[in-house]
Symmetry: C2
Subunit: 224 residues, 2 copies
DNA sequence: TGCGTGTCTTGACAAATATCAATTTTAGTC
DNA sequence: GACTAAAATTGATATTTGTCAAGACACGCA
């Protein structure tokens, strides 16, 4: 594993508070691996043997059922994933595949659990991470239960607008069909949802979405 | 607060590993309170000032948006709720109301956070709790994204069948309109979904659901 | 540059689900 | 045990969303 990888990992909020000693101990059996695009990393129901840390590239977490498939999260560097399953030592709930060439560090789950008991700072950070993940999923479930598809798109666009910080426009950083799947709809529905937002000034061109008047979008959600 | 309350609380997986000293310290400012049915305990976006522990009764966590409302979880004794928001000291994502007369112990969030830093066993247990909550929400989001409403009902019934352990029948322990809202559909749709399962042998009578042949239900989900 | 593959969009249609209104059933109260 | 109010069901209809098929567009690669 590269020194740079180690540095980048240690700088993650999840690990940055750890005693260096515990950190090196946890990573002693970890290793980095490069994967081509479109490779399945693991399947739901597999055991969670490694905490994954994405260093470069993009990874999609998705779920499968009855032939269908839904994107649950899109992971970007540098961040860890499947912490919950590692903690609980339980089967994975999601599958993962690389969306582009990716470099991933794999940390044995047993070492993560050990470190977690040894280092209170790590325990705090893991809690934070899990709590945030929980809240993210609550948000998704909320959106799915009480909004229709074009409202979910509005919600997504407004969130991205804040996250990306680029005034008046949003870059869609995944294929639209992946975004559709993430938002719980078909690509066709997403296409139509975008069109329904033209009335609010939204213009789409490729992966660029122009949002001249966020207020008008927000009005479509009309909740407190 | 009753001694019995203290005993029951300490017996929760979340707290059972804690040093008694830390436990009493955490509960020194806690207090129990009785609430009538149908009382709103807190609103989403409120600050999470107290970790709640339900001792008796039933509580529904729900989300609101654009006039609509969706049940996100149904809490039964003895269990804690809104741990994630307390940990992160962030606004609540859900509202709560009692579904029946309820007795709730309120523990100041600051004391929870302190105990969390002081007691590694508690930290581990809190992680467990959050990780389970996360996985629960992932399950809900999965179900909503890739199943249609009667499949979600099937999924619910099969899960309850296992949890309740009563062979061949399931007791619906909330009003059907609440169950409908929990499953992300209208009461009318739930009623029709039940009817569509008659073909698989399911019979509903009030809050009793007879499921003579779980296999036939499972076949409707047809995933691995 | 041109070819080929896959994504995105559009239209027509079908299926799923919500909404509205009316009725039956249930549960709670005096 | 009758009365009331809420919940559950049912039917008719509207809306939303998915499916299928075709064409437009974009991208990678020879």
């Amino acid at each position: 594993m590269r020194d740079q990888d180690l540095n980048d990992i240690q700088r993650l909020p999840l690990f940055s508070g750890m005693a260096t000693e515990h950190f090196s101990q946890m990573l002693r059996a970890a290793y980095a691996q490069d994967f081509p695009a479109q490779l399945q990393l693991f399947r739901q129901d597999d055991r969670a043997d490694f905490l994954h840390v994405l260093m470069e590239g993009t990874v999609a977490l998705f779920a499968q059922s009855g032939g269908r498939e839904a994107t649950m999260a899109i992971i970007r560097p540098v961040s860890s994933f499947i912490l919950a399953a590692c903690m609980l030592d339980q089967p994975l709930l999601m599958s993962a595949r690389t969306m582009s060439r990716s470099r991933i560090v794999l940390i044995p789950a047993t070492d993560v659990r050990k470190a977690f008991r040894a280092d209170p700072e790590f325990a705090v950070a893991a809690n934070r991470q899990l709590a945030m993940g929980f809240r993210d999923m609550v948000g998704q479930a909320k959106s799915l239960k009480l909004r229709k598809s074009n409202e979910r798109l509005v919600d997504y666009l407004l969130t991205e607008l804040e996250v990306q910080g680029t005034a008046g426009r949003v870059l869609i950083s995944a294929e639209k069909r992946v975004l559709a799947s993430f938002l719980g709809m078909t690509p066709e529905s997403l296409s139509r949802a975008f069109k329904s937002l033209e009335a609010a000034g939204v213009r789409v061109s490729g992966s660029q979405v122009a949002i001249p008047d966020p207020q008008r979008l927000r009005a479509l959600l009309d909740d407190a």
